[in-house]
Each structure stands twice: as structure tokens, then as C-alpha cells.
Symmetry: C2
Subunit: 408 residues, 2 copies
């Protein structure tokens, strides 16, 4: 049910940022440095100044223009801050007069990276996607790798190029090799693609040599972002054997400006699909660790796909448990991409590679067509959980492709 706020725009049944949401971002306004803020309706509550004013119940956790210090405090502090902010912004709140001057119109704000990404890991937990890509790369018999139903497969990605929604993305250069060519060549990628994912953000760290349970993993997750794992398919096909994707993914990953907290998504929790093969005990969890979140992709303003986070076979908690299983220490600010979330049919696929089936079936964008991304194209991911009379939204995760750089 909608929690009503004294900020009218937060009570819109189709708005993304009602009082039920309170996602965490970092914003700046003209002449002022970036600082922590929380979205409410069409406004941003300046959380850094609210903390300074003694309104948040926290001390020196919201002053660094990143949410990492708060994230490191753990779930009890996250909950307590959420409760305080809810009290401040709820209809009839006694503190309204103190809070009102701390609100900034979202339209006047520039958004920045909401966290310092410690390390970025990309999983492969969407079964339809794994099957689609496997079919194209290795044929239908070998589509799903033998380990896929047992392991939340993942690989380490590159954290230095995780950028916030709205950042322009340069088309990558790289090595490619045509099937019939003797030698590879070097130049701009010709098969530039997106991957629609959800990123889970680790708040509470774990120690080296200390595996964790799925239950503890779930408690370590601070929140979720939309994540576009930009991918150069031609670079990927030539480089990925035997050590996995590298430069095909390293040039850019875009996340939404807003981190939707795990607590805000709790009403939309669902269990992952019943495993087709029994999971090893360390990956089992008897809690709903996934979420019912509607997702969509727009290309130059045309909606080209709709899917749902429910399609994930493994939850972020299961991914995180596996990640730490060898004794790998996890850190505040670790970002775990879910893997591409494709639904059952071509209008539900999470990448252009799948939607166009390897470039064979162009997409119709109302007159124009596309297989892969052209310079100047804008790709936007959106997502929201649908409550009873309200939504919990992520805002946009968007990026426009700029021409490849000249080689130095």
C-alpha cells in the first residue's frame, strides 16, 4: 500500500519514487559539490545536509559523496536510517519545516556515481539468455554448459569503467577476426550490444578464508541497481576462449543513478524457479531471494523488450554465496551483475544479440531498423516493482554511443 508523503509528487500511483522507495543516489546542483541524496517524488532530499542537521540518526556516514560508509555499517543501521527518513517525509510529519529547505528539484540536479565500486563481478544467471547465446555460439545440443545448472557461473569484470546513467559511451576499439580471414584486424567494434541486468551491491564485507551461507549473503546485500553490461560481440567472439570475456566488456558498464534498497524491494520478494537439478547444500536457501521487478529496454525511445527479474535462475544471495565459497573476501561496494535477464520470447530478450538472433533479424524502430548499435543511438533500461497503488522504481539507466576514438 502507498505510504503517503507530504510531498505531493511522491503520492502518484505511477511515480517511481514514493515514500515506499527512498533510493540512494549522489547528486550535485549548480555551484555545489556532489553529495548523498534520497529520491522522493520529483525531489531529492539532501541527505548529507539532513545528517548535518541531526535529522537522520547517523553521524558522518553521509558526507563522502558515496554511500559506501553507510553501506559498511550493516542492516541495522540501514533500517534505522530508512525509518528516520520515512518519519521525516510521511504525511503529517512534525519535522516538515526543518526538512523542506533540504529538498532539491530532481530536474535541477546532476547525478553522479552513487557508490565507489570496490570490484565488479558479472554473473550469468539468466537461463534463457545462457541457452540463447549457447545455441548461437555452440549449437543447440551444447547450448547450456554442463556446469550451468550447478554453479551460478560468473567472472570478474572491470570496476574502473562502471559509470552512472547518462554518461556517454565511446564505441570500443579491439581485435576481431572474420571467419575466413587469415589474420585478425584492429578497429571499432561493429557488433556493439547491451545486456539488461540487475546489479546487487554488497554492503557488509566478509573475511578472506571465510565462506558464507546464503542466509548471511542475503543480509550482506544493501540494494540493487539497473545495470547495462555493454558488450562488443565481435571482440568477445575472438577473445573469450579460453579465459572468458575481457576487452569486449571492459570499456563500459552503466548503472542507474539510484540504488533501490533491499528493504524497499522486500514486499516484492519471490523465490527463484525450482531447480532442474538439485543444488549443492551451500547454494540452498529457504527464503525468497529474488524480486518481481518489471524491466524494459528502449532504443532511441522505442520500447524493444520487456522482461522481469523473476527470470533469474539464481538469486543475488546465491551468487554472492558462491563468490565467497572459495574463501574470497567480499567488500563494501562490490557490484554483482546478475547476467542478462531474458524472458521466454524474442520480445523479452535482454540483448540485441538475442533479439536479432546474431544480427540476422533486424529490429524495427518505427521506420529505421537496427541489428547492433550505431553511433548516436541511445539505449535505456527501466525497471519497477508494482505494488498495490504504487511503484518502486529504479529511474533510468541510459547511455548514448559516441564514435570510436582515433587510435593514438
Amino acid at each position: 500500500m502507498l505510504k503517503r508523503s507530504w510531498i505531493d509528487s511522491a503520492n502518484d500511483a505511477e511515480g517511481e519514487f514514493p515514500l515506499n522507495n527512498l533510493p540512494c543516489g549522489v547528486f550535485s546542483t549548480r555551484g555545489l559539490p556532489p553529495r548523498c541524496g534520497v529520491a522522493i517524488g520529483d525531489m531529492i532530499l539532501d541527505a548529507a545536509r539532513a545528517e548535518e542537521a541531526g535529522l537522520t540518526g547517523t553521524q558522518r556516514l553521509l558526507q563522502s559523496a558515496k554511500w559506501n560508509p553507510l553501506m559498511a555499517e550493516g542492516p541495522a543501521v540501514w533500517s534505522s536510517l530508512r525509518k528516520r527518513l520515512t518519519d521525516l517525509l510521511a504525511e503529517g510529519a512534525p519535522d516538515r519545516a526543518a526538512v523542506e529547505p533540504l529538498l532539491v528539484p530532481m530536474a535541477d540536479a546532476t547525478m553522479h556515481m552513487p557508490l565507489e565500486v570496490a570490484e565488479y563481478t558479472d554473473f550469468y544467471a539468466g537461463k534463457q539468455h545462457a541457452q540463447n547465446v549457447g545455441t548461437m555460439f555452440r549449437g543447440p545440443e551444447n547450448a547450456l554448459p554442463p556446469n550451468w545448472l550447478h554453479i551460478p557461473i560468473g567472472y570478474n569484470g572491470r570496476a574502473s569503467t562502471v559509470v552512472v546513467s547518462g554518461t556517454g559511451i565511446r564505441r570500443p576499439l579491439g581485435q576481431t577476426k572474420a571467419k575466413d580471414a587469415e589474420m585478425p584486424s584492429f578497429g571499432p567494434s561493429k557488433r556493439l550490444d547491451i545486456e539488461l541486468e540487475i546489479g546487487a551491491i554488497v554492503g557488509t564485507p566478509s573475511q578472506m578464508g571465510e565462506p558464507i551461507t546464503t542466509d548471511r549473503a542475503q543480509q550482506m546485500i544493501f540494494g540493487y541497481v539497473l545495470l547495462n553490461d555493454w558488450s562488443a560481440r565481435d571482440l568477445q567472439a575472438w577473445e573469450y576462449q579460453p579465459l572468458g570475456p575481457f576487452q569486449a566488456k571492459a570499456f563500459a558498464t552503466t548503472i542507474s543513478s539510484w540504488i533501490v534498497t533491499r528493504e524497499a524491494l522486500a514486499p516484492f520478494a519471490v523465490v527463484t524457479p525450482s531447480p532442474e537439478k538439485e543444488l549443492l547444500p551451500y547454494l540452498k536457501g529457504d527464503f525468497p531471494g529474488n524480486y518481481d521487478v518489471n524491466l524494459s529496454i528502449e532504443m532511441n525511445g522505442h520500447r524493444i523488450s520487456t522482461t522481469n527479474m523473476r527470470e533469474l535462475y539464481y538469486s543475488a544471495a546465491q551468487q554472492l554465496t558462491h563468490h565467497a565459497s572459495s574463501g574470497c573476501s567480499m567488500r563494501t561496494g562490490d557490484l554483482l551483475g546478475s547476467g542478462t535477464i531474458s524472458g521466454p520470447g524474442p520480445s523479452n530478450y535482454g540483448s540485441l544479440l538475442e533479439m536479432t538472433w546474431g544480427g540476422e533479424t533486424p529490429l524495427d524502430l518505427g521506420g529505421e531498423t537496427r541489428t547492433f548499435i550505431e553511433d548516436g543511438d541511445t539505449l535505456t533500461l527501466r525497471g519497477h516493482a508494482q505494488g498495490d497503488g504504487y511503484r518502486v522504481g529504479f529511474g533510468a539507466c541510459t547511455g548514448t554511443i559516441l564514435p570510436a576514438p582515433d587510435y593514438p
Copy 2:
């Protein structure tokens, strides 16, 4: 030629730390916090206090107990500091009286991580190793992947578990699957291995969307460490397809306590082997980018292998150039593992997997035998460049295996 120091132990022809070396580490002594230091003979010069005393020509670059601030300054500052330290420690130095109180016996010091690792990338630039492993995993016909002679293949590793020499390493847990088993199982790795590598450390950063030349890449490298890329072969075999190594490597990577600077290694620079297929222009470089460094592995005190950094097919500068080629930004503190450096025969291989040919031929350790690592075993890498009457050494890169943790 040996540069003579007023510290006698630095003039030993077989010592690792003459005035020609001056490697960078972080040390602590009883009751004092970790701080930057430079090895000279059997002593450590307290570089943090030397800076405070106005002796280094730097300001506030050596006070953070990591070398990153100095590394970020670039080659001119690195050179200038090296020159100042050389002047302070050279035979007949006028500042001897001021410097002497800043020396600490190495034997009294505990070593810490010399840098904050921004991200860790592991390459695969040793051809003999790639051929050996490829032969075991895919047969002699498919040993070298088709891209190997064109790309310095690499994958992103996990930075959170890069630890300094001497840190105990817990045997990792993980999923493995026997060939004839229906289902995988979860437990301690039974095929725990090492990989003898050299790690290159990026000092000067690059920008996102900005590829670099090999010449610029070479200038960006601050120095080198010995690196042991601990590997769980049984986990690796089951997990690595299709996205590469993950938990098999994520549990630990050990580096030497001392960073040997690029400038100290300059007299030992060599060109990489003549490419068997012509390299694409972006990977060519007309400077000697590799080094003649003797390397060895000891297991429980028995020398089991000797090899040389010259065996690398691609230099760190070529690896770094490829790493940034897509537009991936590089950061101060990025650590690039070279890949396992195996020489021509079994007594020159850089991993137990190769030395024992997949566990088939046990090693003789003087009475005891080993295929893979047992709990309590100590593995030590050593390396030095041999000059005329002096050595430039890395110190040890060592770790002892502790029993696997109980699963929580």
C-alpha cells in the same frame, strides 16, 4: 656495476638489495604503525620519516603506508626520488649522519602490502605454459588457442585477496566434479597449485575511452613484484567454461613484499621473442620491454624449478596496451600478472600441474614426494637480475597452506 653504499651489507655481490635496487615496501616495527620503506642491504630506510625530515625531495607522498600516492605522480617524480635516495645512501654521502637514525634492521620488521591494489588482471603470456596446459586440457593439436599468437590474453582477477608474502593461505573450498560422477560435490580442493608469475604495477593512470601506445604503456609502469597466482586445478577444470577462471583463483594471490622499480630493472631490459606471427600495429613496440630475471620455486625448502622472465612472449607494456585498447581506463595500483613463466623443460616449469604433468609424475622432495600441495607445505618464489658484481633481487614471495575452513 655495483654502486657502493656506506651500508656494508649493501655491497655484497650476492645480496638482493644493493644501492642499484632500492625496492619499495611497507614495514612496521614493534609499537609503530606500518610505513613506507626502501630496502638497502639488510636494512630498511624509513622513507616516511626521511620525507618528514626533508631528505627525499617529496612532500606528503610517502605518509599513507602505501606507495600509491608516489606511484600516481609519474616517472619524473619516481626518478627524482630514486636519485635522492641513491645520493643519501652512496659511499661518502654527506647526509649519512641524518640518514643513519632512519635505518631499521630488516630482521626486526614485519612487512605489509606495499600498495593498494586497484584491480588485478592476470595474463597468459608464457607460451610454454599455454602450450603445456592446452595439451593437458585439449590435446596437443588444440594446445595453443587460435588467438594466442595475436592477443596477450588476460582475464580480470580478484583484488580483494591479493596478499603480501608470508600470509598464510587457507586451502579453498569449492565445487568439483569427477569425470564419471553424475553430480558435482563441494569440499576442499585436492589439486592445489601455484603459478610463478611476475606482476607489473601501473603507476600513471589512463582515461576511459583513451587507448594507449606500447611506448606510453611502458612509461606508465612503476615496477614489478613476484606473484604467486595460487590455483585450485580441480575447481578450475569444472568452472572455467565458458567464462574463464573464477573461484579457482579468487581465494588468494601472493606478491613479494618489495616492488622492484622499472628503473632498477632497466639495465636488464631485453626484447621479447621474435613474434611467430606478425603482431597488429597497436601491439608493436621498438623498445626492450621485458627483463632478464632469474626465477625459481622452492617447495618446503627444496628448489623444484628454475626459469627466467625472458620466457614471456608478451611484455607487460604489451599487456597493458591491450588492456586499455578498448577504452578501458587504467588506474594507479592496477596489478598485471604476467601469466605462468615456464621454461623449456619440466625442471623449468612454473606450476605443479606442469611439473607433475597433471599429477602423473610426482616430484621428489628429498624423501617425500608431492603432486599437488598438502596442508602445511610452504611454497616460495625467488627472483633476481644478475649484474656485473651485483644482483637486483625481489626478496621472497612465500606462503604456507593452512587447512580448509569448516563450511559454516
